[in-house]
Amino acid sequence: MSIVLARIDSRLVHGQVLEAWVPYVNADCIVVANDVVAGTSFQRMVMQAAVPSSVKLIIGTLEETASILSSAELLKKRVLLLFASSDDALKARQLGVSFPKLNLGNMHSSAGKDRYTCTIALDQEDIEKLQLVEDQGVTIVSQCVPADREQNWHKLVRSGGR
């Protein structure tokens, strides 16, 4: 098993992931690791409907996906791993899911968050959690679609939010 892309994207499965990233990294399996989605059968069905059958879709809680990712089940798959938030990414890392690089895609703004790019909004808690992920040897970059330039997240945070 190889994780070809690990990404934080609050929209989870959507056009940017399916039309741009899947062909770019040549993934044949998408793993959505999120406790809420895993518990909502309706949302699982909607996501399944959007993914072509040539791509395997696995939706599970953080613990479930951590054990699937370490099992032999996905041995030959090229996996695109999706998290909804920095919190989920950190928890997955602590559960033993290893990925060398973490991509920040869409992190929607809400009250109390500062916007750093068109698509990324962070608060202090996000920054601390991402720092903890980075401390475990993960490179963190921001890149919305493959056509955009990849940028280290420190550059982003240093440049300041608004």
Binding site: V13, L18, E19, V46
Partner: protein
């Protein structure tokens, strides 16, 4: 209390309003006003002339999905509104429903219409146009708009009749797989069009058709450049300026 349905007149008005979904498309909230405008006739028939404030709050915010799937979402939203008005407990509440489905439907619509149907219809139109026929635009418009208009209307009825279960019906249609088949057909037609142009070019220059194969690596090179992010504008300027230069020199 019994759940209130929508009249045919209301559904027709919503169908027509769906064509104005993106009239005020904006960077801030995308289709927020458009979606409210779309469901307004339905909301009026459920709540009467004066809408409760929480209904306005619920549907006035950020929204974005593919225009062809918006009627389906709208009709389902109104079913959910009608059920909660009738006092039913909903498994998925209206706001959660909207936030859950907009991204997957957007992905499906982008793949099917912008990635699949539109290029395929345009390629067929171009092959007709290459015969010098003014039917080309008509053929293109008919091929694109048949599925377009049917999906808008069909989605509206499906959402109206099946509510939350409409998604199961959509899933059975395997639309993302259909989109891939359409894209494959498009690549084949691109090949046919390019070969036909090479043939005509050789014929015009009274060259042997074998020379037509020279164009194959050229097109592949340009396709690779486009894949790497080189813009069409740059490629056009590059080819035309070099062709004009060649014409001036020889």
């Amino acid at each position: 209390m019994k759940e209130r349905g929508l009249s045919w007149l209301t559904l027709t008005r919503m169908y027509l309003r769906s064509f104005l979904l993106q009239a005020s498309w904006n960077f801030e909230k995308l289709q927020n006003l458009g979606f409210f405008y779309l469901i307004l006739p339905g909301l009026h028939s459920l709540y009467g002339d004066e809408l409760p404030e929480e209904v306005c709050r619920r549907h006035g915010g950020y929204f974005n999905t593919h225009p062809c799937f918006a009627p389906l979402v709208a009709a389902t939203v109104l079913r959910l509104e009608a059920r909660s008005l009738a006092g039913e407990d909903l498994a998925v509440d209206v706001e959660t429903y909207k936030s859950m489905v907009m991204a997957p439907f957007a992905a499906m619509g982008d793949a099917l219409f912008w990635g699949g149907i539109r290029p395929l219809a345009a390629l067929i139109g171009l092959l007709v146009a290459s015969q010098g026929s003014l039917w080309a635009p008509v053929v293109f418009l008919v091929l694109f708009n048949l599925p377009h208009l049917v999906l808008r209307g069909g989605g509206l009825l499906l959402g109206h009749m099946q509510g939350l279960n409409a998604i199961e019906t959509v899933q059975k249609c395997r639309l993302p797989d259909l989109a891939i088949r359409l894209k494959e057909s498009t690549t084949i037609l691109i090949g046919i069009l390019c070969a036909y142009l090479s043939y005509k070019g050789c014929e015009h220059q009274s060259l042997s058709v074998v020379w037509g194969f020279v164009l194959l690596p050229v097109v592949l090179l340009f396709a690779w450049m486009a894949h790497k992010g080189v813009t069409s504008l740059f490629l056009v300027l590059l080819t035309t300026s070099s062709l004009l230069l060649l014409a001036l020199l020889f």
